[in-house]
């Protein structure tokens, strides 16, 4: 299936960034057919920072604003819920509070600095952003990253997937007031961040990925310890998760909360867990489309918060296993560390990576060894649209389940 992740203007022509069978391509847009083929075309073209801004009218209807400063969300962003009592009729999401104009700050930078800045767009998706950005820059400069770099990038992506999925499940457990489960998951989350630090020197895997280069490759002892730690995480998580699913209260809160149908999910342009939880298979299985061994595509059927959590739990275990298997053989990749190819001084390139919540895309144009034009397409933007859709006709007590289960962040959506 084809997923549209962005619309961009280049020299008075409009182009679509489409994922066709997992590969990213730039397609010229045609006014008549594009709107029908990709239902999220209009949304991505306008890229409005006020999502679904139309108000609801009616006798007794008022607007309940949740945010921008609230301890439940903590991020700077607001939800305006229209309601006549308990039911949420419509949700307007305001991304302006977190809009830091990152695209502008990255324009005019040297490629290496641009990669560093891309990690700051959303630090918990730091690897995804920096891999996508460096891929785009490498394409623009005509470099093909060597095997060592590519393999380590996939490992780092999976490490990022592990701690982000743990964080989502931790948040869902806290929202359901499952204190014991949440405490244990919190402990596992902290453990996974410490593993990141041991592996790469940074808890969020920041400052590791560069253009055709990986900094601070870990030593053999560190790798052995990391493998043991990931095995521990799998063991503890599986025990915990199986136990939690036996609790009907927990399941009841998540079941049928924030349901999305297949048509809705595909029309919003979602990808990875949010899409797979509705039962659709997207062929986006590689960090850079070049996983050493393809990871299984995990799908669920219902499209509710429980399905999204289940998808993430399975992906989490698969990723840990992948890390264990490939860290064991990572020492032989030293031999594949070849030098750079010739570098073009200018060009344009497209890079895609798969963050824990969906596809991240970067499109860059380089002139005189500086970034002259940059566009980024983050998964949280269609994700926020999905949150607004899924909140329709829910009750406010189900709000944290719907919001947390998508794993989207204001920082990422507003960039």
């Amino acid at each position: 299936m084809n997923i549209l992740i962005g619309v961009l203007q280049k020299e008075e022509n409009e182009y679509l960034v489409v994922l066709k069978e997992g590969k990213a391509c730039l397609v010229a847009s045609e006014s008549e057919t594009t709107g029908k083929e990709y239902l999220n075309y209009q949304i991505l073209k306008e890229h409005n920072l006020l999502i679904k801004g139309e108000p609801v009218s009616g006798y007794g209807v008022f607007r309940f604003r949740y945010g921008p400063v609230t301890s439940g969300l903590r991020e700077a962003g607001s939800f305006s819920l229209y309601t006549y009592g308990e039911k949420i009729l419509h949700t307007t999401i305001d991304l302006n509070w977190k809009h830091r104009q990152m695209e502008q700050s990255m324009t005019g930078q040297k490629p290496d600095d641009a990669v560093k800045l891309s990690e700051k767009v959303c630090s918990n998706f730091a690897v995804s952003h920096s891999v996508a950005c460096s891929l785009a820059l490498e394409n623009a400069l005509g470099i093909r990253a060597n095997t060592l770099v590519r393999n380590w990038r996939t490992l780092l992506m999976e490490a990022e997937r592990v701690y982000n999925h743990l964080h989502v499940i931790y948040k869902l457990a806290s929202a359901a007031a499952q204190k014991v489960l949440a405490s244990h998951l919190g402990a596992l989350f902290e453990e996974s961040l410490r593993i990141n630090k041991a592996l790469s020197g940074s808890r969020y895997l920041m400052g590791i990925n560069q253009i055709n280069h990986i900094n601070n490759l870990p030593a053999l002892d560190t790798i052995r310890k990391t493998i043991k730690d990931y095995q521990g995480i799998i063991f503890q998580f599986e025990k915990l998760y199986k136990h939690s699913l036996s609790n009907p209260n927990f399941l009841d809160r998540l079941h049928h909360a924030g349901m999305l149908s297949r048509e809705q999910a595909s029309s919003l342009g979602l990808s990875r867990p949010s899409l797979r939880a509705c039962g659709l298979e997207d062929n986006l299985n590689g960090a850079t489309g070049e996983h050493l061994i393809a990871l299984p595509v995990v799908t669920q059927q219902e499209g509710d918060a429980l399905a999204r959590m289940e998808t993430r739990a399975e992906e989490l275990v698969n990723s840990c296993q992948y890390l264990i298997d490939h860290l064991k053989v990572s020492d032989i990749w030293e031999g594949y560390n070849v030098a750079d190819m010739a570098v073009k001084p200018e060009g344009e390139g497209l890079g895609i990576s798969h963050s824990p919540s969906g596809a991240v895309g970067y499109y860059v144009v380089i002139k005189n060894n500086r970034v002259s034009y940059l566009r980024m397409f983050t998964p949280s933007y269609p994700g926020m649209h999905a949150v607004s859709e899924a909140l329709k006709d829910q009750v406010f007590t189900d709000f944290p389940f719907v919001y947390d289960s998508f794993g989207v962040h204001f920082t990422d959506a507003a960039c």
């Binding site: 921008p68 400063v69 301890s71 439940g72 903590r74 991020e75 700077a76 302006n96 509070w97 977190k98 809009h99 830091r100 104009q101 700050s105 700051k120 767009v121 959303c122 630090s123 918990n124 730091a126 964080h167 931790y170 948040k171 499952q178 014991v180 489960l181 405490s183 244990h184 919190g186 402990a187 989350f189 902290e190 961040l193 808890r203 969020y204 920041m206 136990h243 036996s246 609790n247 962040h409 920082t411 990422d412």
Partner: protein, 155 residues
Amino acid sequence: MKWWPLYGLKKKWTERRTYESPVAVGRIPGSRFRRSLFVYVIDVGSSNALNFEIDALEAPQYNIHRFGIYMTDSPRHADVLLILGRPVKAMISPLRETIDQIPRPFGIIILDDCTDNPVGLNDTELLNVIAEVKGVPDPSQLLGMLLECLRVNGK
């Protein structure tokens, strides 16, 4: 299936160690925060790493409640305001409103992850800044800072 209250009872997650603060923490005039410290966290434009570090700080390894450190849900219950990130233009007025709602005496700790947001707030405009950290501190460093705050302001 084991009953939830008994689950993991034997495992001890909390670490017994000392926590160092990366910066010196100033004194809040008129404060007597001897036994507990209530912290309100506000994100004004961070890159989300700081948010995740606050979530990690609430993990059992750190067990901040044993020191009397609590995260509040409202600025009206806060002793210390923890500002995450450099303010985005749109968040300056909510930040000012939040500071206005905090009862005196209070202190502000700024965690600046250097994201170069357009239009930040001039530091001297904020009252009672007792500590400022550049970069993303570890939860152990954050905890060290909060414990130092308790120590300095508890007299």
